[in-house]
Amino acid sequence: MAKDSRYEVGKEDNLRVENRIQFLFSALYSLTMKIGVLALQGDFSEHISMLKKIGVETAEVRLPKNLDGLDGLIIPGGESTTMGKLAVAYGLMEPLQQFGKSHAIWGTCAGAIFLSKDIGRDQPLLGLMDIKVQRNAFGRQVDSFETDLEIDELMKATGTEYPYHAVFIRAPIIESVHGNAKVLCALEDGRIVAAQEGRLLATSFHPELTGDMRFHEYFVSLAK
């Protein structure tokens, strides 16, 4: 028995190393990719500097024509009402919905709200992900918090074993996932803070405000 379990541990280690190597190779591939960041409002420049650190070419997206030639898109944190109004005013809703059918899109905080189908109030939404989101679910700014998250899928994909330090700011929660959307991470009390549906990704928190590149690496691997 003891021998078997040792063998099992060794096997797991090998698997991790293999994952890490595979992941680094895919990261190498990402050098040929171009990822856009929706730059209507919010912390788009923080996402751009994270992407540059992992060697991806970037572009700011303010008008539909800026989507040409992109392999994926990040919708940053900010105010979802502001982004929604500007997206409607400059004819971005339909092009973004089309883009999301064939490309990877990741929404952080306000971006997650914008990607969702339902938030229980009337404001422009892309409706690309089958998730229900509640805005400002943790309260006001004085309730904003930082915490460590165990995200199995992320650790497995990146071949790492340490938790992900997450920054929540007036954050939304994902109330429920439907259809093909699956939960990527929930808090200890069960509230969902990250979800994935194919190549679409939604997080309540802000990986762009940390020095941890893993979420950006993970997203780039989805955009391939």
Binding site: G42, G78, E79, T81, T82, G139, Q141, F145, T147, R170
Partner: protein, 295 residues
């Protein structure tokens, strides 16, 4: 999993979420809804806009908490409120209301002519005004998690905001070319904490988000400030003292997003109606200047 609230990352972070956006002064729930509908990324709740504070004279204080709470109820975007310089009890009251940001503002009558609030003592983040790099660094040293130019509030004259933005950006550019051994003298000459001077040199930008404020009245003014390098714009009297507030508000929001696209700026500048009645700051007596408040 232990979570922490009120951290420096959290305080700075909310300002980062406001970047590329417009924060609008509102005096009641109805104006707050108009601002949100126009695409404001936050509102500043106050009893009187700066132009009226100027006209009325007297002592300007923190607004009625009841009125701030009504505005917080009316909108889903962040709500800021102003306290007087050095009036830490007004700040404690605003924090207890749950406002998202406090502006320790020269627009209100200062409560302390020597000291600002020690903002590190609070969980709620603060924004402060500055005219130059030294003032900015001192405020950040006290715990301000966001800066803005002071400009000259309530005038509709952008010249002071330009002066302050140019001064701050110019100093940051100057720091880039300085040797490390020159930084202590820079800190001394500008009355700026040394560690923050070093950090600003390394980052090549201010360590916190920096907005423009004080005299922005048109989409072109807002885009001018963005092209000068600020992260976003406060508009005080400029919106609700103009002929068509909803239209002007939406136009300024668009001008901040598309600040580099002159054809869009031309489009949004059309038919906005009367801008606020301006007040030329060059002819203003020193006693009426708000920007000189703050130490």
């Amino acid at each position: 999993m232990e979570s922490k609230t009120g951290t420096w990352t959290e305080k700075k972070g909310l300002a980062q979420m406001l970047k590329g956006g417009v924060i609008m002064d509102v005096v009641n729930a109805e104006q707050a809804r108009i601002a949100e509908e126009a695409g404001a990324c936050a509102v500043m709740a106050l009893e009187r806009v700066p132009a009226d504070i100027r006209a009325d004279g007297g002592v300007a204080r923190m607004s009625d908490p009841e009125m701030i709470l009504k505005i917080m109820d009316a909108v889903s975007i962040p709500v800021m409120a102003k306290c007087r310089i050095g009036h830490f009890v007004e700040a404690q009251i605003l924090e207890s209301l749950g406002v998202d940001y406090i502006d320790e503002s020269e627009v209100l009558t200062p409560a302390d002519e020597e000291h600002h609030i020690l903002k590190h003592n609070f969980k709620v983040p603060f924004v402060c005004g500055c005219r130059n790099i030294g003032e900015a660094m001192r405020r950040i040293g006290e715990g301000a998690a966001m800066m803005r130019t002071k400009g000259e509030a309530g005038t509709g004259d952008v010249v002071e905001a330009v002066r302050h933005a140019r001064s701050v950006m110019g100093s940051i550019r100057q720091l880039q070319t300085m040797g490390d051994e020159e930084l202590m003298a820079f800190a001394k000459n500008n009355g700026a904490p040394y560690e923050l001077v070093k950090e600003t040199k390394t980052l090549g930008r201010m360590p916190v988000v920096n907005f423009a404020a004080g005299g922005v009245a048109t989409p072109a003014d807002a885009a001018l400030m963005m092209q000068l390098g600020v992260d976003g714009v406060f508009v005080g009297s400029g919106i609700f003292k103009s002929g068509d507030p909803a239209k002007r508000a939406a136009a300024i929001v668009k001008s901040v997003t598309h600040y580099q696209d002159a054809s869009i700026l031309a489009e949004v500048s059309k038919n906005l109606g009367e801008a606020m009645v301006g007040r030329n700051t060059a002819q203003m007596p020193d006693g009426e200047r708000l920007a000189v408040r703050g130490w």
